[in-house]
């Protein structure tokens, strides 16, 4: 149980990371506020632009939540600090999982606060809030797993960091948030079955429109991605973790 005791210290460590807080919380708050002011009263195909943009914005920032777990695993297991960690009377693998768990919980917490802020202050319609937080949880978990998978797959951590940015920005680009993507069969397939942000938005939107079956299907696809990437991460992690 000593491993669980470390959670408190990891949480303290996290609370001092003000840059993470700025990037994963400060920036989305500013953007949600700006978009809510700018897009008020604009509707596109029957959907309020404020609702659509803000839901996508909050979900998009979940794609980068995995960087917390990624950085802590790297610092504690792949730098000189690993010798200190290994000399502790704890199960280091379990400690690694607590780091991942806390990074994911932190991302979920920030996401949930953003959902609350956008709902209470700007009246953004999330449909069912517990369901939206469940989808945010899936997104945060997937992001942590993918970031760790990247950490274990390449030798240089800086490359893993760049790849995690490619994952986040690539998903946003493919979902057509910056500009409309061409009507291509491959891009459509990726957005329908693989792209986490497109799946998460569809899940939230379907539940909002009382299309529960569709919502569960998209959440199930996200769950499937989590299972597949988790298995790959475990296999790679067992090889790479000291």
């Amino acid at each position: 149980m000593r491993e669980l005791y470390t959670i408190r210290f990891t949480a303290l460590r996290l609370s001092r990371e003000w840059i993470v807080l700025l990037l994963l919380f400060g920036v989305p708050i500013v953007l949600v506020t700006l978009f809510s002011v700018i897009l008020a009263d604009i509707e596109y195909m029957g959907v309020s632009a404020v609702d659509e943009t803000n839901v996508l914005m909050v979900l998009a920032f979940q794609l980068f939540g995995g960087t917390v777990a990624m950085n802590y695993i790297y610092l504690d297991f792949f730098t000189e600090r690993r010798y200190r960690i290994q000399s502790l009377p704890i199960n280091t693998s379990l400690y690694g999982f607590t780091l991942m768990l806390l990074g994911t919980l932190y991302s979920i917490l920030l996401g949930a606060i953003l959902v609350g802020y956008s709902t209470l202050v700007w009246d953004v319609n999330w449909g069912n809030i517990p369901w939206s937080i469940f989808i945010i949880t899936l997104m945060a978990l997937l992001s942590s797993i993918i970031c760790l998978l990247l950490t274990f797959s390449v030798k240089k951590f800086s490359i893993a960091e760049r790849l995690s940015e490619v994952y986040g920005i690539g998903a946003i680009l493919l979902a057509g948030l910056f500009f409309p993507m061409p009507d291509n069969a491959v891009i459509n397939w990726v957005n329908e079955y693989v792209n986490p942000i497109a799946l998460a938005y569809e899940a939230v939107d379907a539940y909002r429109n009382a299309n529960v079956e569709d919502a569960w299907m998209n959440a199930g696809l996200l769950g499937g991605l989590i299972v597949i990437t988790f298995v790959i991460m475990l296999l790679l992690g067992r090889r790479r973790m000291p």
Binding site: L22, L23, L34, V37, I159, F179, P182
Partner: protein, 228 residues
């Protein structure tokens, strides 16, 4: 020009730098256009954002030099601080100039509707100098390259949006529309609008003049901190 040569070598030695400096501008050429807004294809509308990213990556080398004590050692070398700064900035400028030429020439050859490609090139070049000066000044605030880069990423998103690169400035509320004028990105967006719709050359000169004034101001701020 030893420092200039080494600055170029340092930049191109980093493979991720090399990829971002070449692949992203090429990708920008092939991005689609929209019917109403933006007036130019997306790659050209967002090119200013890319220039800011490139500029912060390039000028980050100077923070590295401060961190590693290179600037202190330079004080003992037969090189003036002006030569060090000038040659580094020249190397960064050469890279962004090459990128701007690549994007405009590539766009013309690909058949993108750029209206006045030469004026657009001038605008992008002037904005590139402003971006380099801005990031130089920004970096003087930090001791760590990564911290500077991460916070600047957040700043880029906000100034790009408020400046009118992501959304038209007309959509902003009146107060924000007035505040937008203080961001260099606003003048870039105005410049792009001039390239597409403008007639009076005086307006274009004013836009570039403001950008150059910003460049001069940031250059002065950025070159004050010598050793740190």
């Amino acid at each position: 020009m030893t420092i200039f040569t080494f600055a170029l070598k340092r930049i191109f030695r980093d493979k991720s730098n090399l990829a971002s400096l070449t692949l992203f501008p090429i990708a920008a050429i092939f991005l689609p256009a929209n019917d109403n807004w933006p007036l130019l294809p997306y790659g050209y509308q967002f090119f200013g954002v890319l220039i800011l990213f490139v500029a912060i990556r390039l000028t980050g080398l100077l923070i590295d030099d401060r961190q590693k004590g290179v600037v202190k050692r330079l004080a003992a070398a037969p090189v003036t601080h002006f030569q060090y700064l000038f040659q580094n900035l020249l190397a960064f400028s050469v890279i962004v100039i090459a990128q701007c030429i690549l994007v405009i020439a590539g766009g013309v050859m690909y058949g993108n509707e750029l209206y006045e490609p030469l004026w657009l090139l001038v605008l992008f070049l002037v904005f590139s100098f402003t971006a380099i000066a801005f990031t130089l000044a920004w970096n003087t605030l930090y001791r760590n390259k990564e911290t500077s880069f991460l916070i600047f990423m957040a700043v880029i998103m906000i100034i790009a949006m408020l400046g009118g690169l992501i959304l038209p400035v007309d959509m902003l509320p009146d107060t924000l529309e007035k505040i937008a004028v203080i961001f260099p990105t606003y003048w870039l967006a105005e410049g792009i609008e001039w390239v597409v719709l403008g007639e009076n050359i005086g307006d274009f000169l004013l836009i570039n003049g403001v950008l150059l004034l910003y460049a001069l101001l940031f250059l002065i701020i950025g070159s004050i901190r010598r050793i740190g």
